[in-house]
Structure formats: C-alpha cells, structure tokens
C-alpha cells in the first residue's frame, strides 16, 4: 500500500502478458530448465517487452536468499584493503552477488555495529578482516546462521575459514634476510597502536627472527604507531635516530610507514640503503615506485578478495571450503636494503 510506484511492472504483469501463472513465470526466470521451451520463450519475451526487473527484496524475503554479501574492512585508506575490496566486488558481481561495505576504522565496536546492520539486512555471507573481534560478534553471526570468511590472515583460532597470508612467517623471513646481510642493529616501526592482529603478527615474526639470532631488541628500538601513514613513518624514524644513531636496519610492518621512514632518512642526510636499510610490507604502488624502490613483502590483496568471494558464494550454494588457505607472500628485494656497511 501507499507505494510511490504506480506503474512499476511486476512478475504478475509478466505472467499475465505471457498467459501463464505467476508460479510459472517465476520458474521460467529462476529455473528455466524446468519449464518447457515455448512457455519459457513467452515469458522471456514478456519480460523484454515490459522491461521487467525483479524486486530482489521480495525475492529475498520469500526465498531466504538475498544475494548480498557484506564486508567490513578497517579502512579503505590502506591500498591493501581498497584493492581487496575492489577484487571482491568484481568477483561477487560476476557471480550475481552485490556487496554491502563498511569500514570500521580499526574500532571493534564500530565493526560490531556494522556487522549487526548487515545481518539485519539479511546478507548471505560476511567477509571480515583478521581474527580478533568484539566478543558478541561471532555468537551473533552464528545465531543468524550466516557463513563468514576472514581475510588477510591464513588461519583463525576461532573456527572461521581464513584466506590470506602468514604474516608472522613472512616478516620472519624478511628479518632473516636482513640478518644475512650482516645487520645487527635493528629498529622496528609497527602500526600496532590500534587493535591490529596482522601487524602484531608481523611484529612477532620480526622479534622472533631476531631472538633466533640472539638479538633482543630494547623497547626503545620498537616504535608503535597508530596507522599506516607516511607521516607516522617519518616521525618514528626521526625519533629513533635522535637518540640512537647506531641503527643500520629498520623493519616496518607496512609500506606507508617504510616510505615515510625512507624519505625522512634521506632528509636527515642518510643514504638508503648505504647507511640504512629499510623494509616495508604490503607491496603497494609507492613501494615499487618510490626512491629508492622499497624491499618489501608482497600481499596478494586482489587474490584474497577474489578467493573470499568464491568461497562465500560456494558455501552459500551448499559447497565446502577449506578452513585455511595460505597464499604466498614472497619477499620482494629492491633497492632499499643492502649489506651492512661496517658490521659491528
């Protein structure tokens, strides 16, 4: 009652025009193989003539399937998430699904709110990031019976199918590479000030590799920043060198911070990599195109997005998916790293 659309054409109009029942018209569109050729033809013809387009809300209400997937990412400001979301959306669209998107700003409370809204909207599936959520989230999602997959990590401790990389192993390998180049005086810039289990794992991997080499970093050699931004990287590096000029290698948990550190180092008269080696993580565009091009770890964000889409669609349609999907995150050696100049 009281709808604005006086003349919006609906399925019953199509049925009438095609001289079939509403049920048959519906079937002709949704399970064409089940309705006889000539009839299907008539329905298709009527659809075309009347310019019918289905009301997906009504369809969702009666079928229990919305063909909507919800995703909540920390921020689109990080290219790694922007790329992942873009790939996710493309793949979902290709499979007939539409994307509901929200960003949490690294705030678990906001994340929970958004998830709640998505659930109320009847999403068929949910893609999240990482493996730490507000306590209500998982029970809520499960109570709704909505499948979910988490991304950018390759395992979950909470029974969620995960598709991503092993952040800890990746930085461990990266750190070993620096150790092999003879570095012993390390510093770390980590964006772990906000809740971020991926960055935390990356930090862990660095610390672990150092420990394995018998190096224990004093706490003032680890600076925590809130966000992956160039400006924070800059500030962190200048703080580090103000008190501690012995450092020969700076490990960063992401590229933006590494680019900032690299740029600031040069501004301070240090030559990267001759005087100072710097590594990032993510392999976003500025890493490759910076000056010097940054040694970093590649995160296959679009692959993650695509696979997440495929998995969700597949489980919604009754399929099985692996609980853990680990994508390769290779070290990309470029020009921001070199042998230590004068090993201590």
């Amino acid at each position: 009652m009281s709808h604005r659309d006086g003349g919006r054409v609906k399925l019953v109009d199509v049925a009438r025009a095609a001289n079939v029942s509403l049920a048959t018209a519906s079937r002709a569109l949704n399970q064409p193989e089940i309705v006889r050729e000539p009839i299907r033809r008539r329905v298709e013809e009527a659809v075309r003539l009347l310019g019918y387009s289905p009301d997906r809300m009504a369809r969702a209400l009666s079928s229990g399937r919305s063909h909507i997937v919800g995703a909540v990412v920390p921020t689109l400001g990080n290219a790694i998430f922007a790329d992942g979301v873009e790939a996710l959306q493309d793949r979902l669209a290709a499979r007939g699904y539409t994307l509901l998107l929200a960003n949490s700003q690294y705030d678990p409370r906001k994340e929970e709110q958004e998830i709640r809204a998505f659930l109320e909207h009847g999403v068929d599936g949910l893609v999240l990031v990482g493996d730490s959520f507000a306590p209500e989230v998982l029970p809520l999602v499960r109570q709704h019976g909505v499948p979910l997959v988490t991304t950018y990590v390759c395992t979950s401790g909470q029974g969620i199918p995960a598709v991503g990389i092993d952040n800890r192993q990746a930085t461990r390998k990266m750190t070993r590479y620096l150790l092999e180049l003879g570095h012993r005086e390390f510093a770390i810039i980590a964006n772990t000030a906000l809740p971020n289990d991926r960055s935390k794992a990356r930090l862990d991997g660095m610390v672990l590799a150092l420990a394995e080499a018998g190096i224990r970093l004093p706490s003032d050699r680890i600076v925590e920043v809130a966000l992956p931004s160039i400006a924070y990287g800059r500030r962190a590096l200048s703080g580090l060198f103000a008190t501690d000029p012995a450092i020969t290698a700076v490990l960063c948990t992401n590229d933006a911070v590494a680019v900032g550190a690299s740029s600031e180092a040069r501004r301070m008269g240090l030559n990267v990599p001759r005087d100072l080696s710097i590594v990032g993580f993510d392999n976003i565009e500025i890493a490759a195109e910076g000056d010097p091009p940054l040694t970093t770890v590649n995160v296959p964000a679009d692959e993650i997005g695509r696979i997440a889409a495929d998995y969700l669609v597949s489980v919604v349609e009754g399929g099985q998916i692996p609980m853990s999907t680990r994508l390769d995150a290779p070290l990309i050696v470029r020009d921001s790293t070199d042998r230590v100049r004068s090993p201590t």
Copy 2:
C-alpha cells in the same frame, strides 16, 4: 516456508511477550512517540529479553524504504575515491543507512550493470561520480523514482544534483600560477584515455589558461594516459623529454601521475623544481609527503562523501537539496614549483 532459521525471533514474538498486537509492537519501534509510555516500555523490554533484531528486508518490502544507498565509483585504487567512499559510509551509518558499493573500472557498461543491480535491490538513493553515463542509466533511475546525486563535479548538465569541485576552474587557476612564475614551455599529462569527465575538465582548464596567455600547446606536448598511476606518470615524462627537452613545467591531472613524473625527472638528472616545475591534482598523501612535496590542488573528498550522504538522506526523507554544491579546491603550493630558470 523452508527457512533455515527455526528459532529466529520475530516481531510477532515480541508482541506476544509484551502482550500487545503486532501493529503496536511495530509502532513502538518505529514511531515511539505515538504509543503510550507503559506499553512502549513493555515492548522495549521484550525486545531486549528476546534479543529481537528486525528483518530489514521485510521492513523494506512493506514500507517501500530500504535504508540502503548505493554508490558506484570508478575505482577504489584512487585514494580520492577510497576516502570519499569511507566518509560516505561513515555518515550514512550515522544516519541509519547502509552502503551498497560497486566499482566500474571507468567502464560505463559495468557502471550501468551495477546501477541496475542496485535498483533491483531497492536502494533508496544512488551516488554516482561525474556527469557522463551510459544512455540508459538516467531514464532507468528516473523510472524507478530513486533520487541520485553525483559527486566530484559541481554541476550536472543532466539535471542531477551535484556536489564537488569545479575542475576546470581549479586547473585554470593552477596554470595561471605557473604562468606567473614565468613558465612558457608547458607539457600536460592527463589521464583522459579512459572516459573521465573530471580529468577532461581539468585538461580543458589547463588548455584554456594557456590559450588566454597566448600559448597553444602542440599535440605532442599533451600525453594521455589511462589511469592515475605513478608508473604511467613516469613513462609519460620520459617520453616527453626524449623528444622535447625545452619543457619547464609539467601540468598533471592527478597526483599519482605527477609523483611519477617528478620521480622520473629526478632519475633523469633533472632537479625539481629548479629545472622543472611539476604540479599535480587531488592532494593525496603522497603529494604532501613526496620528495619534493608536490604543489597540487586539494580535493575535499571526505567532505564530498559526507555531503552526498546528507543530501541523499535528506531527500529520501522528503527534503530539498541544492542542484549545485561547489566546494573550494584551493591550490596548495609546495616545493615542486618555482620560477622558471631562464624565461624564453
């Protein structure tokens, strides 16, 4: 029938628990001021006890209002759109709306498909980018009676409310600034190879300002690239200087391309800005933090996103909005521009 949720609690359960009719329960939630205090209390209590959360699809179907807004942007790979979308989503959420997002990859056909899908999903409003669409788009949207606003431009030739900047005036002003610095030998790098009316307007503004100064750029001084990427900017600059070393100023339609050009210039042994002035457009992070920091034009992407959200919500709820909202796009002078060294 045949729904998976055996025990999902619905409004009728709430009504029963609160000892009121379904209608009253509905009103208590949607128009609380219209139901008497004690009854409202009982309903709210029941909601809490049962953990009721509304089914927005059902609500949408019967009320004709989905509380969903759809947005389609060219790409999230451009920070300007990522930021705008983020702000849009935040503001929509704050006002009780959810965002359906798609990216078109600068393809009008894909854009049309996504809009079609959004319409089928019953969006209450649509936010688009620019002022050129596949021919079917506008009639389709109007036929559905869905309000829309377009962004990143400040006027529409097609009767769509627009909120954004005047791209043409902004580059005109930017170009005049370079002219005042004494430059006469210009080149332009424009990402106009793909359909992009914003970049086209920016290019127009540059050409116009030059014409006003009596300068007519030969066509080989204008290089068109497809996307706003650092790599394209690099390539464009090296192509330009391979044949034409007289250039003293390079105008770019966006920052990514300008950063690439700047970086490549330095690689070629040119000092920016001493030998070559370069300007970008957008004022994304790498512009401010690059080396040298880039002179550019600020695009208030988050403001655009916020206003688009407010406008849409306001018209959905019966309000009026201006047809044209022009935000300021000031020139940000940094270190990539200087007086021409030896004016011709």
